[in-house]
C-alpha cells in the first residue's frame, strides 16, 4: 500500500511493502511551521501512540512530533541532521522523519485518507 494516511496533527504515514510505516509532516504543516533548521529524531526503540518522539525547530519555534501509532522505530532519516530544510522542500519525500514497525498494522488503514485530510484542512481554513 503506497497510499498516504494522515493524522489530525498533520503527520502523514505510508505503509510500505516491507511492513514498515514511514512518517513525515504534510505540506500544510511545513508551511505553517516555516523554515525548519533542526530536527531531533527519535531513538530506535518502541513508543506508545501519542508519545513525543521528535522535535522540529523552525526559525520561529519548536514543535513536537508525536508517535502516530504504537510501534517500534527502526530507522531514522540520516539526511535531516545535515539538511533539515528537506522537511520544507520535500515534505512527502526526502523530508521523512522515521520508519516504524506498527504494533497493529491494521490500525494504519483506520487513519484519515487523503479525502478526509483535505476536508480537515478545508474545515480548519474556514474555522
Amino acid at each position: 500500500m503506497s497510499e498516504l494516511r494522515f493524522t489530525v496533527d498533520h503527520e502523514w504515514l505510508r505503509l510500505d511493502s516491507d511492513g514498515l510505516v514511514t512518517v513525515g509532516i504534510t505540506a500544510f504543516a511545513q508551511d505553517a511551521l516555516g523554515d525548519v533548521v533542526f530536527v531531533q529524531l527519535p531513538e530506535l526503540q518502541a513508543y506508545e501512540a501519542g508519545a513525543e518522539v521528535a522535535v522540529l525547530e523552525s526559525v520561529k519555534a519548536a514543535s513536537n512530533i508525536v508517535m502516530p501509532l504504537a510501534g517500534e522505530v527502526v530507522e531514522i532519516n540520516p539526511e535531516l541532521e545535515a539538511s533539515p530544510e528537506r522537511v520544507n522542500e520535500q515534505p512527502l519525500e526526502g523530508g521523512w522523519f522515521f520508519r516504524f514497525r506498527p504494533s497493529d498494522v491494521d490500525a494504519v488503514a483506520g487513519l484519515l485518507d487523503q479525502a478526509a485530510y483535505d476536508r480537515l484542512l478545508k474545515a480548519n481554513a474556514e474555522a
Partner: protein
C-alpha cells in the same frame, strides 16, 4: 482585547503576510518568502519593515535636552543637531524601563522612538517627570515608521531623495519623500546599513508601495527582524534587558555617555545612578553575554544555563537560528564569573545539556555606513 492596526495593515494582508499579535498590534511575522529568505535578502539587498507600532514622541523647549538627561544616562545636551543617539530610560533601582533613540531636530526639539510595548508607559513617565520643563507631544497616531535595511537601501532611498546618500550612521534629517515631509535617520536594528523613516500615517502606504516597487526591496516580517537583530548582537527590550537588569548587567555601559558616568562632567542625575555607579565600581553579579551553541539545535529564551558541574548559573534571554551564520545563536545572563569570552557553558534543552561558548557580539559583522 482588539488588536491595533498599523497604517500598512491592509498592505500586509495584500502581500500575503502571516499576521501575529505583537505588543497589542496585529503584525506581519513573515511574508510568503519566509523568515530564512527574508533574513538573507535583507543582508544581501534591501528589506522593508513596518515598525509603525513603535512610539514616536516629540519634546520641545529650551530645557528639553536637560530635562531628558534627568531620565537617561546619556549625553543629550551635546547631541549635535542632525544626530541621533541610543539611550535607556532607567528606573530608581537602576533597572532599564525601555531603550530608545533620541534625535536632535534643532530648534530645541528632540525626537524619540521608543518600543511599542512600552510606549504608553514611557509617555506617562515623561509626563510625570518632565512635563513642567518641556512640551511633550505623542505622535502615536500621527506618524508611521518604516525601516529600509540592507546594503542596497541607500541606492533605493536615494532614488527618491538623493541627499540621503550623503548621510552617515546615526545622522538624522528632514527629507521630502514623494513630496511629504519625513524624518530620516541612517540607522536600524539589523546590523546592516539602512534607514528609518518617520512618515505621516496618511502617506505611509504610498511610500511603502513606492519602496516595494524597487526591484531590490522585499517586505520583511518580525521573524526576520528578530533573527537579524540577534545576529547583530542587539538587545530586545523585555527579553535581553528589563527593570530587573541594570545597564551594567545588560553589558550596555557603552550606551552610558562618558559625561554622565561616575567620573564625568555631568555625573549622575538620572534615576538609579547610585546603584549603577556602585555596580560599575564593584562589578555586577550577572552579565549579559553572547552565546554560541556548539551543536545545531537552537537554544531558546528561558533555557537554563549550567556550568560543568551542572549548577545553574544563568538563563538564555534570546535565542534562535542565525540564517547568515548558518548556526544557532543566543544571548543570555550568566554569573559574572562565567562571563569571559570563550568560557564553556551548557544550556538545558529538553533535559539535555547543549554545549555553548561565551562569545563576542555581534555574531555577524555590523556594516554601518560611517562615511
Amino acid at each position: 482585547m482588539t488588536l491595533a492596526k498599523t497604517p500598512l495593515h491592509s498592505l500586509h494582508l495584500e502581500l500575503g503576510a502571516k499576521m501575529v499579535p505583537f505588543a497589542g498590534y496585529d503584525m506581519p511575522v513573515q511574508y510568503p518568502l519566509g523568515v530564512m529568505k527574508e533574513h538573507l535578502h535583507t543582508r544581501e539587498k534591501a528589506g522593508l519593515f513596518d515598525v509603525s507600532h513603535m512610539g514616536q514622541i516629540l519634546l520641545r523647549g529650551a530645557d528639553a535636552a536637560a530635562a531628558l538627561e534627568s531620565l537617561v544616562p546619556v549625553d543629550i545636551l551635546d547631541l549635535p543637531q542632525g544626530m541621533q543617539r541610543y539611550a535607556l530610560f532607567t528606573d530608581d533601582n537602576g533597572g532599564i524601563l525601555d531603550d530608545l533613540m533620541v534625535a536632535n531636530l534643532g530648534d530645541d526639539t528632540l525626537f524619540l522612538v521608543v518600543n511599542a510595548a512600552c510606549k504608553e508607559q514611557d509617555l506617562a513617565h515623561l509626563q510625570q517627570r518632565i512635563s513642567a520643563r518641556c512640551e511633550i507631544e505623542s505622535l502615536f497616531d500621527a506618524r508611521a515608521l518604516l525601516a529600509l535595511q540592507g546594503p542596497k537601501a541607500v541606492d533605493v532611498l536615494a532614488r527618491l531623495a538623493p541627499e540621503v546618500a550623503g548621510m552617515t550612521f546615526m545622522q538624522f534629517r528632514r527629507v521630502q519623500l514623494l513630496g511629504v515631509d519625513c524624518f530620516v535617520s541612517r540607522s536600524g536594528y539589523t546590523g546592516e546599513d539602512g534607514f528609518e523613516i518617520s512618515v505621516p500615517v496618511e502617506n505611509a502606504e504610498a511610500l511603502a508601495r513606492a519602496l516595494l516597487a524597487e526591484e531590490e526591496v522585499q517586505p520583511i516580517g518580525l521573524g526576520a527582524r528578530d533573527s537579524l537583530r540577534l545576529e547583530a548582537g542587539l538587545c530586545l527590550y523585555g527579553h535581553d534587558m528589563s527593570t530587573a537588569t541594570s545597564p551594567i548587567e545588560a553589558s550596555l555601559l557603552w550606551a552610558m555617555s562618558k559625561p554622565r558616568r561616575a567620573d564625568g562632567a555631568r555625573a549622575g542625575g538620572f534615576p538609579g545612578a547610585e546603584r549603577i555607579f556602585a555596580q560599575q565600581r564593584d562589578g555586577a553579579p550577572n552579565k549579559r553575554v553572547g552565546l554560541l551553541p556548539q551543536e545545531r539545535v537552537p537554544v531558546r529564551e528561558g533555557a537554563e544555563i549550567v556550568d560543568a558541574e551542572g549548577q545553574v548559573i544563568g538563563q538564555v534571554s534570546s535565542g534562535g537560528f542565525g540564517p547568515s551564520l548558518g548556526a544557532p545563536v543566543a544571548m543570555g545572563y550568566v554569573q559574572s564569573s562565567h562571563a569571559a569570552i570563550d568560557t564553556p557553558v551548557w544550556a538545558m534543552v529538553r533535559g539535555k545539556r547543549v554545549p555553548m561558548r561565551v562569545a563576542r557580539t555581534p555574531f555577524v559583522a555590523q556594516r554601518y555606513y560611517r562615511g
